[in-house]
Symmetry: C2
Subunit: 126 residues, 2 copies
């Protein structure tokens, strides 16, 4: 089975309140994470919640990055979904964890868009 | 362990090329999916690729919805991530599959932001 995309779901713990609650910092880190991984940015939107928390997404040619932060818990939920072979989602994921000065990260990769491969040719050309 | 959010990852197959390649239709369906599930929309961005395909995200107060379509394969990768008890991510997921007239869907739910619960009180109040 071939897959169209790779999706890393990361649970990032032990981050500083001030970073996770600063919409501009979170936006800069997410945009730079996409660039660090070699992705091509198409659009991005970020939103600051009251009293705290940030949500945002970066749409890239290769799919998307998304973040939701709970500053009061020092926690952020990060998604990095990439298609194609050119961009490695783990590069973006590790960059964000480093910029958040994360104490701990639990992350896993899910294959997206599993497709049946074309059947092998069992009969040789005559 | 308590979780902060529910994240449904859905692989939607057997959809019509014309729907998956129409950025306005995909945007309408995704925005309505959020509303159908009772979510509060904050921002959304959608992008049409050349020669085909659409990517888009809807940021909601409860987290986000994201879609990437491969019209030539009749396939769409859908994510619905919600936090809190008020919005059921499966409502949005099933709505999108229905609007895409999907032939098949494989979806699973991942718990996000697992947090240790406070320790139980083992000593009764005296």
């Amino acid at each position: 089975m071939q897959s169209l995309g790779r999706h890393v779901l990361a649970e990032i713990y032990g981050c500083r309140f001030e970073v996770l609650n600063d919409v501009k910092k979170v936006e800069d880190i997410m945009v730079n994470a996409a660039l660090e991984a070699g992705a091509e940015i198409r659009e991005f939107v970020f939103h600051k919640f009251s009293p705290q928390g940030v949500s945002g997404v970066v749409v890239i040619s290769e799919s998307h990055l998304a973040i939701h932060t709970w500053p009061e818990l020092g926690y952020a939920a990060l998604d990095v979904f990439t298609c194609g072979d050119r961009v490695n989602p783990w590069d973006a994921c590790n960059y964000v964890a480093e910029m958040f000065s994360a104490g701990d990260m639990k992350a896993s990769e899910v294959k997206r868009g599993l497709m049946e491969q074309p059947e092998e040719r069992l009969v040789a050309n005559m």
